[in-house]
Amino acid sequence: MKLIVAILSLVWTPLAVAQDSVPPAPYAYRQLDDPALEAKAHDLMVTLRCLKCQSQSIADSDAPMAGDMRSQVRQRIAAGEEPEAIRAWLVERYGDYVSYSPRVTAMTWPLFAIPLVLLLVAALLLRKRFGRNVSE
């Protein structure tokens, strides 16, 4: 086991080091000077999926690619682009998968419809039950 770990670390460490031999993108680890714009960028970044480490948002991830995505988002926000336009730009390239904020589409509408249907059914059932009690 120790041997395996040693071999793995031999393979992976140079990788991580080599990727970092290029300085990170300008706004990967630097916030925008305007706090309002930074807040806008941050709100968007927490809802974008890191494509390298798929369970993290790009705001959470230290992957170099997530840094590049943060830098893009911040620069576009600073240039006056709307957060939803940036999200749409990414969705155009990676599909809905890149966004953590679900959209209503031909495939996802049941997710939004089923809770409403269940609520409606529950309301009907309750009304039937309590209605009968009152009439009795």
């Binding site: 393979v11 690619m65 893009q72 969705v91 155009e92």
Partner: protein, 183 residues
């Protein structure tokens, strides 16, 4: 009829259990089916976005979207010297280039020395190599890792995305995709 059964048929009593069992089956299915974690680009069939990259090495020119116009198709290979699988695909890229396929490289977050070392060690199948330190082109074409290879036709339209290493057994597939794109 008794009060208990007057509300509905007897089988309705089992309905919640059946729904629950169906849910368990669904969860098990999702757990044991080998899931596809690859992120497909949504740019297939769309034009290559506009870009212009600086040269990554001295002996090859840089790469811009205009280099993909006219007399295609071409391959766009996203690679990096720090990417170990990229070494495995080098012989296949070499063979493609010897077969007359024009291959353009996009080097992700790489230094000139590292790319030069990589090319001298594993061969240089590229006509042009652009330096993409900010993953701009990678994000622009919907690629999420290295290596990835895109077939781009003579009009600059992305026709096919190959995620991961081009293995020896993928060569027929790549050649077929190139033919489909007009080779």
């Amino acid at each position: 009829m008794t009060g208990a059964t007057s509300k509905g048929p007897r089988w309705a009593l089992w309905l919640p259990l059946i729904v629950f069992a169906a849910f368990v089956v669904l969860v098990l299915f999702g757990l044991f089916r080998p899931a596809d974690r690859e992120v497909q680009s949504a740019m297939i069939g769309k034009p290559l976005p506009e870009f212009a990259l600086e040269p990554a090495v001295a002996e090859r020119p840089g790469l811009s979207s205009a280099d993909f116009r006219g007399e295609g198709p071409r391959l766009l290979n996203v690679f990096a010297s720090w990417c170990i699988p990229c070494r495995i695909e080098a012989p296949q890229l070499d063979a493609l280039s010897k077969a007359g396929v024009e291959i353009h490289g996009v080097a992700i977050r790489d230094t000139r020395e590292d790319v030069e070392d990589f090319l001298s060690q594993y061969g240089n199948p590229f006509a042009r190599i652009g330096k993409d330190d900010l993953s701009e082109v990678q994000l622009g074409i919907g690629s999420s890792g290295v290596p990835e290879t895109f077939v781009v036709d003579a009009n600059g339209i992305i026709r096919y995305q190959h995620i991961g290493v081009i293995r020896a057994e993928d060569m027929d597939l790549i050649m077929a995709e190139l033919r489909k794109a007009g080779a």
